[in-house]
């Protein structure tokens, strides 16, 4: 539902937009994402899951979303597998779920069989029994992704190349601060700032309700950025709705910018590019990529309306929407209290279940209690109740014994219609790791943090597990100073200190949950691939130890979301079953691309006639008149054969051969490579590059020769002609010509 009295900086309630989702019409507002507009319309089901066909709802609010995959539009503007959380609403939008939650589903019908379908099920049942080929097609068609497009893409895409001194990835508090610090302390340094969201500010908007200084900070710093941007020959470029998805060697970074979602871009004879691929070379990179929240684990944690706490908070604060009236916040850190306070301020009923015991509470916790929010401390959620949609939860008291959680009390039931959880935050280290950087596990923040030092790169903000936004400002300034130092713009860097315990702003407990919970069925780790804790346990029982192997055996993190919400939890689950510390398990490898990239954007303008140059001979028209079929050799269009009506290739070639034998043939060899060899050692040279003898070839004669390299491989052949003892004309084949001239 949409909150009546909510004021949002992003939602323009004066402009209503109509759209269609799964064949039903709805209304939203300018500024909505498809996801927020559907929450406003009380739509809760977005997909069916990949393996079991379970109905799923939204979990996240951005790039991390694993469930809500949709395909947009039809025909030439059809785009598959977009996240509803990233699709900006426009008037007339039409989308369908990649796997429709409202249709009757074969996978859901065989529900009683699900417990017989653990990890490795398809392999053991079909591949080992050698019947895979028979069932592969029908099984693949059941997989929960959109159909591939069948029509030509009517959109155009652009490539733009940039060279810059500094690239800042991420436009939250850290990114904004770092960009400004660089610009303020140098007269010449160029800066590019890219951010995946529509508005610069990142998670800061969540502070607006409770912290006026956040509002004024955002206003002031954004105006300063715009002052730098809105001048002639600006040193600053800002790209919003732009995701840096790959970092290649020598600080070469690719960024995909979405200009428009799915609306038609053809008007008045011109066509704007839907997406732009920015290819950026940066001397220095500042990563301010933030963090993704990870969910808490419990039985049937995949029911609709079980979401991430920070996402519920974002929907509430940025879009003024929420999908429940009786909310439970569950987690192991203080951030759930901030969400609870915001929900409570909007006069929506909520309570907090905190796995941490009472005592030593922070200001945030005390504030929530003071507001009268019901808080259960030292409790864990065992299970969510409800069919498809969460209706209640089962909780039990827990205690930390040694380094392990144990259930201590009998369980009890609580009602709720929305459960938002937070198991801590995973720094977005993906981009940093693309070129081989490592992560390390930090006990204070319970997170895998980026490698401390790397050449020509700084990290700042919550990618380094810094939670409090005012600490982030200090950190970003410090890191920008180091960047300026590395560029030689300043002689000495200024480093200010952050508040004490800045790495444990959220007072997170370790993010393991009691192993009794992990041993329950249907505790989903990876929503998109239906991987459960028991699948990980099975993989370990079957002998897999390396997290890379466990990942492949269970398919954890293989979906289009690449395990953004699930992977780190999966690693923690494996660590618990293996009974080793998290740091010993390590992470899986992060590879490009961070998010899906359209093939159209990769191709850019190099499609159709611009794909490859076409080279025609001077008598091309004559070949056309004779009805030639062409073959492409190198880039040359050479006549292949000249079929007369009714002839196939063999008949035409036979007729041609006979004509040559009985009368005359003519061949245009102008596409061949021609190399003029002159000098007193010309003969010797030919003898060395060809395998056959050239010492006795008389002037005026020609000879066929084979060329080998020193490995003994034939690299080309051709005919060479002797003009005189010191002058030969060598020909190379058309296809090899290009390679030869490029040597």
């Amino acid at each position: 539902m949409r909150l009546k009295n909510h004021k949002s900086d992003f939602i323009d309630q004066s402009e209503a937009l109509s759209f269609i989702f799964n064949n039903k019409s709805y209304k939203g507002y300018k500024g909505d994402t498809l996801a927020s507009a559907l929450i406003a319309n009380d739509v809760l089901f977005f997909a069916r899951s990949f393996k079991y066909g379970r109905k799923r709802g939204l979990m996240g609010s951005g790039v991390e979303e694993p469930n809500a995959l949709v395909s947009l539009e039809i025909g030439g503007r059809y785009t598959p597998n977009l996240k509803a959380t990233e699709v900006m609403l426009y008037d007339g939008l039409s989308a369908v779920s990649s796997s429709n939650p409202n249709s009757i589903d074969f996978r859901a019908l065989i529900k009683p069989l699900h417990r017989f379908m653990p990890a490795g099920f398809y392999y053991k049942t079909f591949i080992k029994q050698k019947v895979w080929a028979m069932v592969e097609d029908s099984l693949r068609s059941l997989a929960g992704f959109s159909k591939a497009p069948t029509e030509k893409d009517e959109d155009v895409y652009d490539h733009v190349f940039h060279h810059t001194e500094v690239l800042v990835v991420g436009g939250g508090v850290a990114g904004i601060t770092a960009a400004l610090e660089v610009l303020n302390n140098s007269k010449t340094t160029r800066v590019i700032l890219v951010d995946e969201r529509a508005h610069l500010g990142g998670e800061l908007f969540n502070e607006f309700q409770s912290d006026d200084t956040a509002i004024s900070w955002h206003h002031d710093n954004l105006s300063k950025l715009l002052e730098f941007k809105n001048v002639a020959n600006s040193r600053l470029k800002i790209f919003s709705r732009s995701t840096a998805y790959a970092w290649y060697d020598h600080n070469y970074i690719e960024v995909l910018q979405t200009n428009a979602t799915g609306e038609s871009l053809i008007s008045g004879g011109t066509q704007a590019a839907r997406k732009v691929l920015h290819k950026i070379r940066a001397k220095e990179v500042i990563l301010a990529t933030g963090a993704h929240e990870r969910p808490m684990l419990f039985e049937t944690n995949d029911l609709a309306n079980i979401m991430l706490s920070q996402s519920v908070r974002r929907y509430l604060n940025e879009f003024g929407v929420i999908s429940g009236k009786d909310v439970v916040l569950y987690g192991n850190n203080d951030s759930i209290y901030s969400t609870a306070i915001d929900i409570n301020n909007n006069e929506i009923n909520c309570k907090v279940i905190d796995i941490r015991p009472s005592g030593g509470e922070s200001e945030t916790v005390l504030k929530a209690k003071k507001l009268g929010i019901e808080v259960l401390q030292g409790y864990a959620v065992l299970k969510a109740h409800g069919t498809n949609l969460v209706k209640g939860i089962e909780v039990s008291s827990v205690e930390m014994q040694g380094k392990k959680w144990r259930l201590t009390g009998p369980s009890k039931r609580l009602n709720c219609d929305l459960l938002a959880s937070s198991g801590g935050f995973n720094p977005v280290v993906h981009l940093d790791c693309h070129c081989g950087a490592k992560t390390f596990f930090d006990e204070d923040s319970q997170a895998f943090l980026p490698q401390k030092v790397r050449k020509n790169r700084q990290v700042c903000g919550s990618i380094s597990a810094i939670g409090f936004w005012k600490d982030v400002v200090i950190d970003a300034k410090n890191k920008a100073q180091l960047t300026l130092l590395s560029l030689g713009e300043i002689k000495k860097s200024t480093q200010d200190s952050m508040s004490e315990n800045y790495l444990d702003y959220y007072n997170a407990s370790q993010f393991f949950v009691p192993i009794e919970i992990l041993n329950r069925p249907k505790v989903f780790i990876d929503m998109q691939n239906d991987v459960t804790t028991l699948d990980v346990a099975l993989a370990i029982r079957e002998g897999y130890r390396s997290i890379e192997h466990i990942k492949r055996y269970t398919a954890m993190g293989f979906g289009t979301d690449q395990g953004k919400t699930g992977n780190i939890n999966g690693i923690a689950v494996a660590a618990q079953f293996l009974d080793v510390p998290l740091s010993e398990v390590g992470t899986t490898t992060f590879r490009p691309a961070y998010t899906g990239v359209d093939f159209g954007a990769m191709a850019g303008r190099e499609v159709g006639g611009f794909f490859d140059p076409q080279r025609y001979t001077t008598i091309h028209d004559s070949h056309l008149e004779s009805g030639a079929e062409f073959e492409v050799v190198g880039q040359w269009y050479r006549p292949w054969y000249y079929p007369k009506s009714g002839e196939d290739i063999h008949q035409a070639v036979n007729r041609e051969c006979l004509a040559v034998r009985t009368s005359l043939g003519m061949m245009d060899a102008s596409t061949l490579g021609k190399i003029d060899v002159q000098g007193k050692d010309a003969r010797e040279f030919l003898s060395r590059v060809y395998t056959n003898a050239w010492m006795k070839l008389a002037p005026g004669s020609c000879r066929y020769g084979l060329m080998c390299n020193e490995k003994g491989m034939i690299i080309d052949d051709g005919v060479s002609t002797c003009i005189n003892d010191n002058h030969f004309i060598m020909t190379t084949t058309t296809g090899v010509l290009q390679a030869f001239t490029l040597l």
Binding site: Y248, D249, H250, Y252, R281, C435, G436, K455, E710, K711, L742, L743
Partner: protein, 94 residues
């Protein structure tokens, strides 16, 4: 996706303009006819496949078309040095 400084053009250019041409300082034997198959195959096929800083040859294919030497870390792909032929040798690499 390297950025390579051509020692002749004196410019940093994208890898697209260049082609790799194998390990550097491999001298062609003076007397190929006298070599055994093992010795010849050692020259044409066998390379050190070094992990770490590595001297190799590149050619500025879509530029000046000259061959030159590059010292590159095969771990980080960082290019540490470029040189024209003769500026560094197998006896005197930097």
């Amino acid at each position: 996706m390297f950025l390579i400084d051509c020692p002749y053009c004196k410019e940093s250019r994208d890898q697209n303009e260049f082609s790799p041409a194998g390990e550097a300082f491999i001298a062609r034997p003076q007397n190929p006819e006298e070599l055994s198959d093992d010795e010849w195959s050692d020259y044409v096929f066998y390379r050190t496949n070094h992990k770490g800083d590595h001297w190799e040859q590149w050619v500025h294919t879509n530029g000046c078309r000259k061959y030159f030497l590059v010292k590159r870390s095969t771990i980080s792909h960082e290019i540490l040095e470029v040189a024209a032929f003769g500026e560094v040798t197998s006896e005197n690499p930097s």
